[in-house]
Amino acid sequence: MVMIVSGLLAALVLVIFGAHAEASATTRRIGRRTLGLCLAMAAYAAAAALESIRGGPALLSLAADVLRLAGAAAFASLSIGFPAERAAPVARAAIWGAWFVAAALLSALRLVSGVDARILRAAVELAAAAAVLASSVAIILFPDRGLDRDERPRSAVLGMSGIVTALAALVAPFLPTYLSGPVALAAWFVLGASSHYAATTDHVIGPYEALRVILVGAVWTLSVGLPVGVAAWFLVEGLGDRPWIRFAALALLFLLATGPAEFARRRFFSALRGGRRYLKRLEEDLAAIDLDSGRDTVLDALEQALGEAMRFRDFAVLYENDGELDALRCPGGAKPRIDRRDPAIEHLVNLGTTMVSRRRAGDNRNYAIVRSRLLEIFDLLQADVLVIAREGREVVGVFGLGRKSGGSDWGRYDFESLARIYGKLFVFAYYLRNAARAWVIQTVDREIALSDQVIRSVQQNVDRIEHPKADAAFVTRSTRRLGGDFIDFVRVSENRWFFVVGDVAGKGLNASMSMVILKSTIRNILKTEKNFARLVAKTNAFVKKSLPRGSFFAGVFGYIDFAAGNLYFINCGIPVMYLNTPGFASFVEVQGDGKVLGFVRDIAPHIKTRRVAIAPGSTLAIATDGILEATNLRGERFGKERLQRALAEYHSYEAPKAVDLAVKAAYDFGDGDIEDDVTLFILRTKA
């Protein structure tokens, strides 16, 4: 009875260990190999349990032996180079070839030659134990040379557990019958469990982590195992002397128990394992950080929000500064400086990596050529996880997140959460970089001093439309100097320009930073996304997910094709676009309906690409809301009609002068005081 219940329970636990290892091990191959080992051990445990049922199928005994050999082979295969990935196809083929031959020989001896099962059982036990012992001694005495100081303990844990298992398994055949089975089962269970531990745990020689794992395992085993054990006892006793029915009922019980066990692991023990759910709260805390509050306050708030959620000890922030990554914050007050062209950083950028853990850096062969340097950077920042804030190849900053408090590991949930907040971290990195630069030119007016120069340079940094068929000009003005209006042009080809004109909602520095970030993000998206509507949809997703809460973009995205004489655009809430064509000789609104970006999660169903012909002699004028909302002392708004009249009045002037005069008209109307940012763009096409 003890053998039945403990065998089934061990099988259940091993299946879940295997599934967890497959999902959580640093590399997919290590995860799969650990899964294979755990499944082999689980099948063996189940077969060993079921074979002990009186009158049970005789073939189960053979299956248990074959599976035990498979477990030993899986362990030998896993141990090659562990925990690093080593292909070693020849060695693994030899291992599995030997298993196949042994299994075939065993089957022949049992089924054809009729050799005594007990003798064969002992031989299998000894052979399997010898294989595990040899593999374990090999990885302890001859560890892979490429292993670093973080990997060696994990390799040693695997080796030591293999030795313990092998010695127990060697002793088992010589014990009394009633002890022999349980001892062997316990020994092989330990092998599966410790392989799972070594494959999924960062700090294997950590008392807190070991204690936590043992505690979780004990609670989990008892809470799932007790009900399953009681149910198994009732089944065995209640079904009487009908072995096949008992066998089927126990197998069914085993399968049914797998679901609740996995559910319990995920839901009820995640807290104990350090898997506390914190993402929603973290997102709220990050959204509540006010970028207007100053660099150090922002940095403190960021560290506090991340630290409270993820519970790590050390926090480091580097920002890009003239080709170097300088420390803004580092454990112990250190001020490390890393060359932006450092091979490790370059390699991460080349791989498209946005975050990497110390364990992955140590295990994964993708990082092999820069491994030692990368681990030096981890040491330098006292970090277990690096987050690279970058847009394309431009690294804006690096966050170093230290070892978790209490010794627990960075788990899958942590990385999923980091992926979810990556956009926000990028925004903070961008802000911190520009705030740090502006710190040098600090003036009394902090808000203006922080980023005005940077933002103005970004606003002016456009591919101005210079084409023989075009006369174009624009003006952007902000009454508080820092505004959210922006205009951007990107030359796509000789005759085509992409442009964006709009306003990022918000006030002061927050709006300005959002504008700068959005502008560079749109350029970045433009590099890879050639579909116009999808580009807008991706921009919407970025505004929604990554910019501070309450941000939205009202404007227009367009392509001008001078060769074909067409303008393609998507209205995203631009208040007015006028077109004056030679045939109509009047400024007519062409923008149609539009939806702002950043309100809904998916803008795709709401947007529409429009086309208008811009024949030679046409004038296109685009304005944000600031110019329309200029208000005079009587409370009247400048509005669309006055803008229309001003454009008509200055129609004969060249675009730069027409723009200035139209904007001046709005300022004169508002008695020199306009509350919102003002942007006006005029394009004239020539024959």
Binding site: R480, G484, G506, H606
Partner: protein
């Protein structure tokens, strides 16, 4: 009226914020703080009949508050929006997503 005045009334059905004056870059923070504080914890009616201006930042607060209320399973109504508020809301293209009502009984 140059100053923003926000008064709060709490009923057993929800909260009512009566907003009077301009929501602009100078007054926006108070508007944001009060709206965010209520939008998650109660059904909320924003009486915006006496709002004299609504900046894009203020409009962003309304949009975020609607999101918050939806996520929290709450409702947010805008009671008798002034012309300037209505125009700002319509400028987003998503006026249908703002529950604008003409009388308090339509909400509670």
């Amino acid at each position: 009226m140059d100053q923003l005045n926000i008064s709060e009334k709490v009923t057993d059905r929800g909260a009512i914020l009566v907003v009077e004056g301009p929501v602009n870059s100078y007054t926006f923070t108070e508007f944001q703080t009060k709206v965010y504080a209520w939008s998650k914890k109660a059904d909320l009616v924003l009486d915006m009949s006496a709002v004299t201006s609504l900046s894009s930042a203020g409009l962003g607060v309304l949009m975020a508050a609607i999101d918050d209320a939806n996520d929290a399973g709450r409702k947010l109504w805008i009671l008798k929006p002034s012309e300037i508020v209505r125009m700002a809301i319509e400028s987003t293209g998503f006026a249908d997503s703002f529950a604008m009502i003409g009388a308090l009984r339509e909400a509670f």
